[in-house]
């Protein structure tokens, strides 16, 4: 048991440090470690974990927590979650302090200014790739575009639009 927990900690702590772009960026490597290298899960069990973690709220990295949970219960959940969070969070903390300390330097100001358009382009890109994955027919496309329009024109909670999309797709199931 302790051995398993240590292995979980090592695998995910290393992944944490290379996960630029979050869970999506390291998804193939997570699968390789969990399914191929350690044989902790079958491919179909892994696909289930992927589906469940996408149906839940929270950062996508939460799939690692669920893997820990399925391997070793509550202890596994805590170890996996801490292992994937701690290294990258500590790095972010140090980087944040460095940026704050030298915030008057010109190159830091340029960096912060320059990261704005980069963040914008990347969030648009993730919107496109999510749309590609989620939209299989005309109805899902309409739901996506309708939600996007809602978010652009309204300050109301986007949950209204998502709840409407969920209900619409269930209704369509019964109508067609």
């Amino acid at each position: 048991m302790l051995d398993l927990l240590l292995q979980i900690a090592r695998v995910f702590a290393l992944l944490s440090l290379v996960s630029i772009g979050g869970a999506n960026a390291v998804l193939p490597e997570i699968r390789r470690q969990v399914v191929v290298v350690h044989g902790w899960m079958s491919d179909s069990a892994f696909a289930n974990v992927f589906a469940i973690s996408h149906a839940a709220p929270g950062p996508n990295i939460i799939m690692v927590s669920l893997i820990g949970w399925q391997l070793a219960g509550l202890a596994g959940l805590l170890v996996a979650t801490l292992a994937i969070m701690a290294p990258s969070c500590m790095l972010a903390f140090v980087a944040g302090r460095v940026i704050a300390r030298w915030s008057e330097r010109r190159w830091i100001r340029l960096l912060r200014e320059g990261l704005i358009p980069l963040a914008l382009g990347l969030i648009l890109a993730s919107g496109l790739s999510m749309t590609r994955m989620a939209d299989h027919d005309a109805i899902t496309l309409v739901i996506s575009l309708g939600t996007a329009a809602f978010v652009v024109v309204s300050r109301r909670n986007p949950l209204w639009a998502i709840a409407a999309g969920t209900a619409a797709n269930i209704v369509v199931l019964h109508v067609t």
């Binding site: 914008l120 648009l124 797709n169």
Partner: protein, 240 residues
């Protein structure tokens, strides 16, 4: 499944009763008589109301303090709502609802979070927590963001086998995923509208979008190439 659970929680988590000024303004506008357009002026005004953005002062630099409990509750809500990725929800709560940060400050923090390893929003939570309440703030933000999603994901893990085959559940999940994708798209468009990027900044955004979104190049490579480029662009345009 997740959608229904979230909806019942939201009422509890959302202690904010914002005045419904938009509706009031709409009523005032619609009943008002436009001297130039006569009695059809309301059509123009209704159109403007439907497609315009609410007046927003949040682009001003905000120098405010955020208490520890505010931080925790805010991130608890972000984590709970964070369906299909946290960034749009974090922006909704932090920029639009509670106004802790301006649009620009939020985008900049998200950008820093993006080039570091780890989920961009988790890094953003670290930076925001540290900014308002130091180390304690960091722990509160991270714990707030993760607590409810962890409970929900394990609950779903337990009941998934039993419910996954029900057609209504599948249809609902597909509908919710399509909605979440639209939420991310809409958030990007809204940010672009409010940030009003300069020509070179817009070019950098489009490059990042094409490289990652259309060509699906690996993110670390794109970041390594674009960070120097975007700093140079900011220097050329004298943005800082």
């Amino acid at each position: 499944m997740g959608g229904m659970q979230m909806a019942s929680w939201v009422v509890i988590a959302d202690g904010y009763n914002r005045p419904r000024h938009r509706l009031d303004r709409f009523r005032a506008n619609v009943s008002g008589h436009d001297p130039i357009l006569g009695k059809f002026g309301f059509l123009l005004k209704a159109g403007r109301f439907a497609f315009s953005m609410p007046i927003d002062q949040s682009d001003e630099a905000i120098a405010r303090t955020v208490s520890k409990s505010e931080l925790f509750l805010g991130f608890l809500k972000i984590g709970l709502l964070g369906f299909g990725g946290i960034a749009p929800w974090a922006r909704h709560v932090i920029v639009e609802e509670r106004r802790w940060l301006s649009e620009k400050e939020f985008a900049s923090i998200l950008g820093v979070g993006q080039i570091l390893p780890g989920p961009n929003t988790m890094n953003a939570a670290v930076l925001i927590g540290d900014r308002f309440q130091g180390v304690v703030g960091v722990v509160l933000c991270l714990f707030g963001q993760m607590a409810l999603p962890l409970v929900i994901v394990t609950t779903l893990g337990v009941i998934y086998e039993r419910f996954a085959a029900i057609p209504e559940v599948q249809a609902g999940l597909i509908g919710a995923a399509a909605g979440a994708a639209g939420l991310v798209l809409g958030t990007a468009i809204k940010m672009a509208h409010k940030l009003k990027p300069t020509p070179l900044a817009l070019a950098i955004s489009l490059l990042a979008f094409c490289a990652v979104g259309l060509l699906e190049w690996p993110l670390p490579l794109v970041v390594a190439v674009l960070v120097p480029l975007t700093i140079a662009a900011a220097a050329i345009e004298g943005r800082a």
